[in-house]
Symmetry: D2
Subunit: 314 residues, 4 copies
């Protein structure tokens, strides 16, 4: 029988809620609904145990991980399954570099540290990476802050035989992948794109942060589109009632043979945290497998699951 | 300078209207809007001359091809370009096998015969194929009636060094290609399809015929979908006011990680005849090129442009 | 305290399921969600007791009403509430006129008979109306078969002081009301309708029956639209996976000032049986109140809730 | 024969373009497409002559009105009609109060002054109102700046027998009217609104201004909705490729009987300037008719065409 992965997590937000609950659901029902890779190097979806969790919210600290994931502002729904206590109390996360050794000590029993905090705090990201390094633990950076893209970090982890996966999670299924797929399809079939737009609406804290800091994300989303010259992005809309749902409206106007009009209107509804957890479940197993096989640095298998893997611009 | 293709056409419906007008538009404006392959073996989009046209409608016979394409029930729009007379009067099409030699004689100056009549008249299709064979002309069967899939026909054409392209045109851009693309995308990303439907609405004579004979087409459309077990087809709707437009409503309901809902709603609007002409313009040049190079039978290059190429079931 | 209405029902399909469950839900939660009229002449939503139920399906007969409503082909969902047994076993419905007295005897304790069977069996409808008449019970005909529109029936009930409500239920919220509202809005604002279409998709047995007998319903739906000359109906689509949901796609193309284009695309999703039960809950109380007050015939209050009230064509 | 209305206009933007072209189109074709009221007190749609036009753009000043309406940033389309020169050169608009008498002198031959400049310049609005007053001309304020709501202004105009119409045009057909109609329909039918959102996208200068100053308009739009507590507004999106089109996406989620889900998704596409011109054509004739009949102040007939008529808050 395979040894289960011992996972520590930083950030007890919606994405962690989706991961914790989805594993429990799978364990109970055996369902492989929404699972991209049932087994990775012998590791199944439920071969993962949470061994530590770090957060900064006073309300979450001290509670069992399975309780903390339902504290506001988290708004990912409660899935329809029993959720046995994890026996893992949420620990106070680090606030400055003086605490790195404390965190490293708490990572003693872990194999993988999944860094799933909000983007935009590069120093915090680096401090956790350092703690993982000192503890001999694989590190996954799901934020846009550059760690795995930073050659120095990558080399250090590689030299120590420690996997370093990142940066910035590519959602399992979201606006960019649908929009891009349709733009590419038009081009392949010889149609001429006239105009296109994308509207993104959501109700999570993440979304609220993006709305207040729209420029970087808007540019990043435009970069992700293959025909960006013709694609216009409406400003992100934070609509609290949507909770963890994201709604996108896409429009593509094109011309076919003889210049006649071709038009596509799409409404997409997804749960953003599920899109993250559906990728994290793979990254965690890829990281554990690489660690166990002594492969340090960035595993090639992880690259398609990331927006900014090593080699892309910071 | 390359020798222009001498094209004869059977059927003066919307698809022929789109082909005739689109070539004229390209000739005037040089625009490559909606053109998948600007040049095929040296042949540009406007390197095609119509040399004969056959139809059965009394109203069309005797008129110049450029007039006949606007006679009812044709309802493809008049494109925004001058349309100089073709100097090709529409000729009475054949009604039985006794006229094959008459038609073969009229094909004397042609290189390619594009068979673009309605589906469902296999004897007529075979009679025109025979006429093309006797006249030494390449034959393109855009209907669902089996000619190129029929080994006997294929072997006769191949032995004579005559190209035989068919059967059944795959539209340049239509409901099936969009639906399939999205179904495949869901599968690739590890989502689980729950249900899906497709509604097709149109206003052409072709559409009216399909509505009156829905079963074969409905099955054929289901066959074209990669996840057909979960996909339901609403009955086709003939809505005359749509004229040559086709409108499709697609819905895909899926589950992502944790079983959370993912939903896609799509409205697609296209001009069906443009979707046909945008493929015919390539088939005609592939056929002419094969004929000139002495390659008989089915050119591999044509296969992706056809729904039922040689080797598929009749 | 008000005396509770004693209700008998014919037909134990989706509409009855929605009525039974909705009353139970209201009783438990006090919720007035989706209730148009909380109180009618002193009668609240939960002041209704089922006292008899008639059906023809062998599987339903003999079971408690609260079990029978979940037997196939019923597919209305199970609402999120406890459903205490009604203590009312489903009784074999009448199959011919010889059984009228048997049914009348079984209606002894009832005040109102809600006739909620499928449309298209006028003799059965009349037999139940006769049974209600003999038992001195108010009768509600929710089908399109003419009873209340039939002057003879109406006069008999009126003379006996018995309420007779019908015919043909107008859904609380459905395609026709939305389409009509938008057509009227365009007209009021001075826009010129160019074209419009309506696609209806559903998954109930009712829907399947309509698909197999489309003409009458299609015409009836067109009659219900204020601008029917410009509105086209796509054929109804029976899509089993929709279960008790109905999905409608509406399109309205119009012209505003200067002839510029105005376009409206609507997707509507509802549960058909809820639309019926939300009206039946009002009709039942109107009928009981009229009976108790000695008002025979058709209560004016019921007219807006019906598609074909007395005075309309049969 | 009726005397034609002599109209002066301030602002030569898209709305004026739509008005000028729409009148010309009507004159040529007699078409009443998109016209709410063909005749008002004997005045037809084409019984209007432009006699003066004021603008601030250097590029427009000096050009004939019929040329100036096509200068950027105007992007309302060129309608399909001949547009004979108006013989009215665009005049430099006033920039401060010292020019009021100059403008009043230029209004000598006019009956009505249509103030159709951008909102947000209350002093300019007042200066033009003063010029109209001195010239004895009726004044229409289509902006949100308070003139007709200002009792002092209203009394002055009324005392002088001069009509004063305003403030803030209600579009002939736009997002608010559709959203409100659907919200009201849900309420009337007894459904319970759960949530709703509205996304507005446009490509005009007006839209760009609103995007840069979103708060006031967003609140004003929320005020216009009958169930504003449950309705969320996404930020306005300025998408240049839409030009003078506005695209709105509306969603309404509700609950029907038994708490079952009812959902409405709407896409609306309109030309904003047509929505303005379709109302201005009525306001101009109402103003002229009131002036000719000696009725000063605000004509009751104008009230439903305005967002902030006299009596509403400033």
């Amino acid at each position: 029988m395979i040894e289960r992965v011992r996972l520590a997590v930083v950030g007890v937000g919606n994405n962690t809620s989706a991961l914790v609950q989805g594993i429990a659901l799978h364990r109970q029902t055996g369902s492989l609904v929404g699972v991209r890779r049932p087994v990775i190097d012998g590791l199944g979806v439920d071969d993962i145990d949470f061994v530590a969790a770090f957060a900064t919210s006073e309300e979450k600290i001290g509670r069992d991980l399975t309780e903390a994931i339902f504290m506001p502002p988290n708004n990912f729904p409660s899935l329809d399954c029993d959720l046995p206590r994890a026996g893992v109390p949420v620990t106070k996360g680090l606030v400055d570099a003086t605490e790195i050794d404390r965190v490293a000590a708490q990572l003693a029993g872990a194999e993988v540290l999944l860094y799933s905090a909000p983007s935009g705090r590069p120093e915090t990201a680096r401090a956790y990476a350092e703690a993982a390094y000192r503890a001999g633990v694989a590190f996954i950076n799901t934020t846009a802050d550059p760690i795995a893209r930073d050659t120095e970090w990558l080399n250090r982890f590689a030299a120590a035989g420690l996997p370093l996966l990142g940066d910035d999670l590519a959602s399992q299924f979201g606006t960019s992948v649908v929009h891009n797929t349709l733009l590419r399809l038009l081009a392949e079939r010889g149609l001429t794109l006239v105009s296109s737009y994308q509207v993104n609406l959501g109700g999570t804290e993440d979304f609220r942060n993006l709305v207040e800091n729209p420029d970087s994300k808007k540019q990043s989303k435009l970069n992700a589109l293959s025909a960006s010259g013709k694609v216009e992005m409406a400003p992100l809309g934070y609509l609290p009632h949507l909770k963890s749902q994201k709604v996108a409206h896409l429009n593509l106007e094109a011309q076919g043979w003889g210049g006649t009009a071709v038009s596509l209107d799409v409404k997409l509804t997804v749960h953003d945290p599920s899109g993250a957890a559906g990728v994290n479940i793979d990254l965690v197993r890829i990281a554990a497998s690489a660690l166990r096989n002594g492969h340090g640095g960035n595993p090639a298998e992880a690259t398609p699951l990331l927006k900014s893997p090593p080699g892309t611009a910071s």
